[in-house]
């Protein structure tokens, strides 16, 4: 599998919604590795990388949230300055359009998560520059 699964949750801009979502996951003992929120004045999309995305989706849906599992690409980098910029350059040199991106530290490495509609092209870059893809099982 070339991608990992991210939880995308629709949240109204109401006080307490973010807490509700995170609390549901906590109660299921699901570990959150990374989190980002994209917002407009009316609503936001909460994006999460978790230890068990399928279970996460199930419990959030049970609590009434609108949740999708989104396929995103993810690669390891070394955990030092300049590694993120260097990695990103490899993608932009090939004109790969990145919808959004975020990163986190995982054990002693860095992880970049991004969504692109040019997945085939992105994979070629990964292979050519010998980047290491993150696998879903790594995140459990």
């Amino acid at each position: 599998m070339m991608t990992i699964r991210q939880l995308s949750i629709f949240l109204e801009n109401k006080s307490g919604r973010l807490f509700e979502a995170l609390d549901s996951l906590a109660k299921e003992k699901i570990n959150i590795l990374a989190l980002t929120v994209a917002d407009t004045s009316e609503y936001g999309i909460l994006r999460l990388i978790v230890s068990n995305p399928e279970q996460g989706q199930k419990c959030l849906k049970a609590r009434g949230f609108s949740v999708n599992l989104t396929e995103v690409m993810s690669v390891y980098t070394s955990n030092k300055p300049d590694s993120l910029a260097t990695t990103l350059k490899l993608f932009s040199d090939d004109n790969i359009s990145i919808e959004y991106m975020y990163a986190f530290q995982f054990h002693d490495k860095g992880v970049i998560v991004f969504r692109t509609d040019d997945r085939q092209k992105a994979l070629k870059v990964v292979e050519k520059s010998k980047m290491e893809l993150v696998k879903q099982e790594d995140l459990v």
């Binding site: 629709f10 999309i45 949230f65």
Partner: protein, 433 residues
């Protein structure tokens, strides 16, 4: 001031005779020329000769907005198309508009009833009438226009919108009369206060307001802030447009021009005619129209009739200011909107489910319509840009279908109350009744 004393101050018995004669002519005409009415009458075993006077009016069948829709566009017209010189339209309950047609004589009748309307409001030939009702298929603009010309006033056909320009022209041209919706009048009052033109520099004296319901409180506010007399006028395009009834200077009910439109009040559930003076649904029969005459048209507006002679000298029956509707129609910025129209649009957009809520509010005196739509999974994509595009698409489709701008708000699933019976789809936060 009374435009047409002959009819507006007619003895009640003479009025009855006049109405009866016109009703008999009308029934003969539509029986012979409108298949829809002929069939309806035959179904009730009625022939034209059975209708001898206004006492027989209650034997005739009702007409509903659905009938105009079912016969869209010209199926209810009683004359050949070459005799129709004007078409107007207003909102239908779902996709199609409600279409009406006028002969040359109908246009003359329309000008006559508007002339009466304006005169009863104190408007005369030396006035400058600024018409801020929309011109076009809507009957407001052109209706007021031809009636104002009839009385010889100077007509300024500004149409709706462009508030800064409305005020500029009001100032530069010295408009003395304002014709628009009551909520727009309040909106203008705000705008004038913030504009470079102070009220003292304007010559406004009288306003004729209709196309939507408004309270005595709103009237008081308009009169105080614009320093004018605010007169209530009433009409609907199916009957003729504006000009069905109008208040006089005493503002104690609207005089119905009953030599043209016979009013009745019925119980909306049983459809029985109510005893005199009691509240119910307004029904009109158009006894002089040629293009699209209607028998006992159910307006869905709630009111009551008062037959006592008015202080102004008119003997015409008065209807009370409308106090609500017997259906779910909304009037937003003067435009008729049916929740079912919104529902049909949503059902056509595959990403939306029919779980929605319509919130109507009035902010800074302008009506706003907000549609809250639940975000279901297929609808919810991971990209903000896609959600925004979809929101805009729903807004555009709705605006196109309804004729007014709607604000769409995405909300979480299951937040709209589900009910076993008919779901409550509309929350109207305005205080207009």
């Amino acid at each position: 001031m009374i435009w047409n004393k002959t009819f507006e101050c007619m003895d009640r018995d003479e009025m009855r005779r006049c109405q009866s004669k016109r009703l008999v002519d009308l029934v003969e005409r539509i029986y012979n020329n409108v298949p829809f009415y002929r069939t309806k009458m035959q179904e009730s075993d009625l022939a034209p000769e059975d209708i001898k006077s206004v006492d027989d009016l209650k034997r005739l069948p009702f007409t509903h907005k659905q009938d105009l829709r079912d016969n869209y566009p010209f199926g209810l017209f009683a004359v050949p198309m070459p005799e129709i010189v004007r078409i107007h339209a207003s909102s239908g309950t779902t996709g199609k508009q409600t279409v009406v047609g006028y002969t040359r004589k109908d246009l003359a009748t329309w000008s006559e009833v508007i002339a009466r309307t304006l005169t009863s409001a104190g408007v005369h030939r030396h006035d400058f009438v600024q018409i801020a009702y929309g011109y076009g298929l809507f009957t407001g603009g052109l209706g007021l226009h031809y009636g104002s010309e009839r009385i010889g006033a100077t007509v300024i056909p500004v149409s709706g919108g462009n508030t800064a320009r409305q005020i500029l022209l009001m100032h530069d041209f010295g408009s003395t009369v304002l014709a628009c919706t009551p909520s727009y009048a309040l909106y203008l009052a705000d705008a004038i206060e913030e504009s470079p033109y102070k009220r003292e520099t304007l010559k406004l004296r009288v306003g004729v307001f209709g196309a939507e319901p408004w309270t005595e409180n709103m009237r008081k506010e308009i009169e105080d802030r614009l320093q004018i007399k605010a007169i209530d006028i009433y009409g609907l395009s199916e009957i003729i447009g504006p000009g069905v009834s109008s208040e006089c200077e005493h503002q104690c009910g609207l005089h119905v021009f009953e030599d043209h439109f016979i009013p009745e009040i019925i119980n909306p559930l049983t459809m029985e005619v109510m005893p005199e003076g009691e509240k119910g649904e307004l029904v009109f029969t158009t006894i002089t129209k040629e293009g699209i005459p209607l028998i006992r048209y159910r307006t869905r507006d709630l009111s009551r009739l008062m037959y006592e002679k008015c202080k102004c000298g008119r003997t015409l029956v008065r209807m009370e200011k409308c106090s609500g509707r017997s259906d779910d129609m909304l009037i937003i910025r003067g435009v008729n909107i049916f929740p079912s129209q919104i529902e049909s649009v949503l059902l056509e957009i595959k990403e939306t489910r029919p779980h929605y809520l319509i919130i109507v509010d009035r902010v800074h005196n302008l009506d706003i319509l907000q549609l809250q739509v639940e975000v279901e999974e297929p609808f919810f994509t991971d990209k903000i840009s896609e959600l925004q595009t979809l929101t805009r698409r729903i807004e555009c489709t709705l605006e196109s279908a309804l004729g007014i701008g709607v604000e769409v708000k995405l909300i979480e699933p299951k937040t709209i109350e589900r009910s076993e019976g008919k779901a409550k789809r509309v929350i109207d936060k305005r205080n207009i009744q």
